[in-house]
């Protein structure tokens, strides 16, 4: 500890703190341009100069001078003020001062400081630069004339985002911030540079000239795309969102956002959004009706099927973008009002890693790490996860951990990804061989005696089976299957078993459908073996795709589990719910999404209720999906848009977007965070919560809850994990369930796994499954891309502009073999179907594979895939 005096105030700070940090701790304000707490000190602007008694004769920049014991500092003497004032004068020599039309006006640091230092005239004069403005880059406008050369944009792009798309160009007076060869920006479009620029040199094009900053009402809410759960600050004027910014003082993301979160909000005001319920008339056309009629019809349809065939012939599938409260009401509606357990979400695939994998191995269907653990980890192991695209803000943490704190990164991936640049060990394996690789690692750790013997013997079971089953994964065998060499496996094994803070990160979701259950078990085996589960700061992050992937599990949108992971077949648990809901719940587990779709074809499911799900686009095997939907007697779809799925429905109910409702989401850390309603609902729509309540009433079952708050109170009484969750206590940081002290301790598994029964479950894969067919030589990899999440984001034109669909990525080698050039139209064909796309040659793609993103309606990749979790092989021919 150091103690020093700043402006007569005593303050104690940690060793290594800078004077500026000490001043902040003392509550003394020092103006800065080039300092940001997320970045390394840079010392470029000299705005932060102070006087230090021990360093007489000069002014020192406080942001980059370490504090020492006994320092006496003055931050606001006449000399300091004079220096700062001169600096501002110099900055203004070339500054255009077009504040009236500058979108930064009103929140500009330069403006504020010029005002604060009462600069009314300038002693120095020179002509202005008159650099051309970059009007041509998508989403971001660059006006170098206004730049104060603080370098924060270039630094955030490199240090946080890990792209380094912009940097200082030229020297001396001519220095500007530019791209290479002055091309237009072609980057991740995260907008972090815009957010951090203290002046109006980098601005948000969507916000350009739309409003002034002081006119905007700020509402903090949670991003509705991925499961990171970033806090967004909506800028609202009238009843529209004008921009989204990150506030660096709040949220798990501390101000960082990705392109989806920052620019992907325009779907809310899309003219394509439905604003009236629709029902199918005799002619088979969807016509606009009132809510009364639509709900009446929906209730009648369900009642008919229920009476004619029984409640078990009705099923409901919801999206994991609903709030906790909505998911809870949805399953309550299905179970209590309709009387069926046929409930599922996200296609039934996306969560099996957590639910089946982790629950059987470790006892909880949840992660035990936080975003901060990732940032502070010593070793990060990324398996089957292109997280810089699926969960960009988690990617930023990995980037910072590696670049700033020298964490060791291991990347196991089937193609070269952004993270490979940072990796200490790159394990680029053959597609689909993750589990073999993990088994190989386990074998190496066991045979080299690197495992945590104490933990394994005291807190786990099944080690002997694991040892026996993985014994055959010797180095040669693993190399044959995965293509990874012995030395890399040894190195990884060594890194993972050092008894340090280790995080394993895996992505999941409808984009990457494979055998998640086995993958999760294999990862859990590795984690238990190396003792990282239950160790503070270590653990596994199985990253769900959508904003409420975790909460949807917690709230029991599952065929066999009630909210709070209670088995429906467990009489005691069921009784508690029956008593509270004043009805009976069937004791038999219901059908999963897959079974429902199969059942629809066979006639065992006759009515479906799809909420926010778009199976025609996002589930595998589109032909089967459509056939199933067509064989139904009755289909209700609830969504924002008239999706291809909604077009098949008998009743379509328009729902509200995340910005138009309140509620809670639970992110991948199990952090329950509050959504704050920013907009009035679009005329003609209702929130999902209202719809469930009203529909239920029409079916003769009253829910007794009408606001999210009331629903959460009910959840609190029935779900022990959520008793802590109370709207008045949620605050900006949310609450991590299962952790006392508001999530400050991650104690899900307890010290040394004391709270759970941990089991090793050996897993194997059918390696023959990966052999290509001779007619279909290329392995199809379906996945997500940076600019999209699910099919919702494609309704935001801006994201579509930077991340358009309609392409298939293939390796240079394959393109050469097939004599294809970039942009050439082709047909991609599998056993199930064929689609027309354009070739995109990607040198990072592995030979023998092609990649197609799954988000796009116009690019229905799922017509090629199958629901059986087996890889799909395709052929390509010129179109």
């Amino acid at each position: 500890m150091l103690s020093l005096t700043i402006d007569e105030r005593e303050v104690d700070v940690k060793e290594g703190a800078t004077i500026l940090e000490a001043a902040e701790a003392a509550g003394v304000y020092v103006p800065t341009f080039c300092y940001h707490k997320r970045l390394m000190p840079f010392g470029a602007c000299r705005m932060c100069v102070v006087e230090v008694e021990q360093m007489k004769g000069r002014l020192v920049p406080s942001c980059s001078t370490p504090a020492t014991n006994g320092m006496v500092i003055h931050t606001n003497t006449a000399e300091v003020r004079k220096a700062r004032k001169t600096l501002l004068e110099l900055l203004l020599v070339h500054h255009p001062l077009d504040c009236p039309v500058c979108d930064k006006g009103g929140e500009c640091k330069l403006q504020d400081l010029v005002y604060e230092y009462e600069l009314t005239e300038n002693r120095f004069q020179d002509s202005k630069f008159g650099y051309p403005v970059d009007y041509y880059s998508p989403l971001i406008e660059r006006n170098t004339n206004r730049c104060v050369l603080c370098g924060m944009c270039a630094r955030v792009c490199d240090e946080v985002v890990g792209v380094a798309a912009i940097s200082f160009v030229d020297r001396g007076f001519k220095t500007v911030i530019g791209t290479n060869f002055e091309r237009v920006l072609n980057c991740e479009f995260c907008g972090e540079c815009v957010n951090i620029c203290p002046v109006g040199a980098l601005t948000d094009k969507l916000f350009k000239y739309k409003a002034r900053s002081w006119e905007l009402k700020k509402v903090n809410t949670i991003c509705s795309y991925c499961s990171t759960g970033c806090t967004l600050t909506l800028g609202i004027k009238g009843n529209s969102i004008y921009r989204i910014i990150g506030d660096d003082t709040i949220g798990v993301n501390k101000g960082s956002l990705c392109a989806k979160g920052r620019f992907g909000y325009q779907y809310i005001t899309s003219p394509e959004r439905m604003n009236s319920p629709l029902i199918k008339n005799e002619a088979g056309e969807l016509v606009r009706v009132t809510w009364e009629e639509a709900l009446e019809r929906a209730a009648k349809g369900f009642t008919e099927v229920k009476e004619k065939r029984g409640a078990e012939h009705i099923g409901g599938i919801c999206s994991d973008r609903l709030t906790n409260e909505e998911v809870y009401l949805f399953q309550k509606f299905m179970r209590a009002a309709l009387g069926t357990n046929n409930i599922d979400h996200a296609g039934g695939f996306s969560y099996s890693g957590l639910l089946k994998g982790f629950k059987s191995s470790l006892g909880y269907a949840a992660n035990d790490i936080t975003l901060n653990d990732v940032r502070c980890a010593d070793v990060i192991f990324v398996v089957r996860s292109n997280l810089s695209e699926t969960h960009p803000v988690i990617g930023y943490q990995v980037n910072m951990a590696v670049k700033r704190d020298e964490s060791q990164l291991i990347v196991a991936s089937d193609k070269t990804i952004k993270l490979n640049k940072l990796a200490a060990v790159s394990l680029t394996h053959k597609p689909g061989t993750e589990i073999v690789l993990l088994n190989g690692l386990i074998q190496a750790i066991i045979s080299e005696n690197l495992y945590d013997k104490e933990l394994v013997s005291s807190s786990t079971e099944g080690f002997e089976q694991l040892k026996a089953k993985t014994a055959r994964y010797g180095f040669d065998y693993v190399e044959k299957i995965t293509g990874i060499k012995e030395d890399k496996i040894r190195e990884t094994a060594r890194l993972l078993s050092q008894n340090k803070k280790v995080c394993i990160l895996v992505s999941a979701g409808l984009g990457i459908i494979s055998d998640d259950e086995k993958l999760a078990q294999a990862v859990a085996n590795l984690a238990m073996l190396t003792g990282m589960v239950g160790r503070k700061g270590s653990g596994i992050g199985f990253l769900g795709e959508k904003c409420n992937s975790q909460g949807t599990l917690d709230m029991g949108a599952l065929p066999h589990l009630l909210p709070g992971f209670e088995e429906v077949s467990d009489e005691k648990a069921r009784n508690a719910f029956e008593e509270a809901w004043k009805t009976s719940i069937p004791s038999q587990p219901g059908q999963s999404a897959l079974e429902m779709f199969e059942g629809a074809e066979k006639g065992s499911i006759n009515a479906l209720y799809l909420v926010g799900e778009n199976p025609v686009v996002s589930y595998p095997d589109t032909a089967q999906t459509i056939k199933a939907l067509e064989s139904l007697d009755f289909l209700v779809v609830q969504d924002l848009f008239l999706t291809p799925t909604a077009k098949c429905a008998d009743v379509v109910l328009p729902a509200a977007s995340f910005a138009e409702k309140s509620g809670t989401y639970t992110n991948f850390e199990r952090r329950v965070q509050k959504l704050n309603c920013g907009l009035n609902k679009l005329e003609g729509v209702k929130t999902d919560l209202e719809i469930f309540g009203e529909l239920s009433l029409k079916m003769g079952y009253e829910m007794n809850t009408s606001t999210p708050d009331e629903v959460m109170k009910e959840i609190g009484t029935l779900v022990p994990l959520y008793t802590e969750v109370n709207y008045s206590r949620l605050g900006e940081e949310g609450i991590v369930w299962g952790s006392p002290n508001g999530g400050k301790e991650t104690t899900l598994y307890g010290e040394k796994l004391s709270k759970v029964k941990a089991r090793f479950i050996p897993v194997e894969v059918d390696e023959a499954m990966l052999e290509p067919d001779k007619d279909y030589p290329l392995l199809l990899l379906v996945g997500s891309v940076l600019f999209h999440s699910g099919s919702l984001s494609t309704k935001s034109p801006e994201l579509d502009q930077v991340g358009p669909g309609g392409w298939v990525a293939m390796s240079m080698e394959d393109a050469r073999d097939y004599q294809l050039t970039d942009g050439q139209p082709v047909f991609v064909r599998s056993k199930r179907g064929e689609i027309a796309l354009k070739v995109k040659i990607n040198k990072k793609q592995t030979k023998g594979t092609v990649f197609i993103p799954y988000h796009f309606e116009s690019q229905p990749v799922n017509t090629l895939t199958s629901k059986d979790l087996r890889p799909t092989f395709v052929e390509i021919r010129k179109g």
């Binding site: 504040c99 009236p100 039309v101 009007y135 350009k208 000239y209 739309k210 409003a211 002034r212 006119e215």
Partner: protein, 144 residues
């Protein structure tokens, strides 16, 4: 005593000097100040605060750059502006409206304008038959 009464009356007359002078000027010595409005119109003083006017520059282009400072400063909050970008990447007011029925004619908006685009004219005949008539849009404010 008498002296003090005279002193007081004298003081009173001194105080009323201007008033009395106007009284005489508009009665015995001159003609009445009352205008036979509306037959007769009053000519306002040069700095009178009347109806606003948006100005054009020498090329006939609107001077207003849509900075919204006038709206921000207006204590009666009667200025509503919507802004947009024109084909030359410049900012302009896609809609500009003053609700004259709520305006208190303080003139702060004119003072706030950084480009001298807004002026207060001597126009004072602002009565209307409808409330809508009191809403002055950009076209009306840009009048010649």
């Amino acid at each position: 005593m008498i002296g003090s009464i005279i002193k007081h009356i004298w003081a009173l007359l001194c105080g009323l000097r201007e008033t009395l002078w106007y009284f005489l000027k508009t009665t015995i010595l001159g003609k009445p100040i009352t205008l036979m409005y509306p037959e007769e119109k009053w000519t306002p003083y040069p700095r009178f605060h009347g109806l606003h006017k948006l100005l054009r520059d020498d090329n006939g282009k609107e001077k207003c750059v849509a900075c919204c400072l006038c709206a921000a400063v207006c204590p009666a909050q009667c200025i509503t502006i919507e802004t947009a970008e024109n084909e030359n990447n410049e900012k302009y007011a896609s809609s500009y409206q003053i609700d004259i029925s709520r305006c208190i004619f303080c003139g702060y908006c004119v003072e706030a304008c950084p480009v001298g685009a807004l002026l207060m004219t001597g126009e004072y005949e602002l009565a209307e038959y409808t409330r809508e008539g009191m809403l002055y849009n950009k076209e009306r404010l840009l009048r010649e």
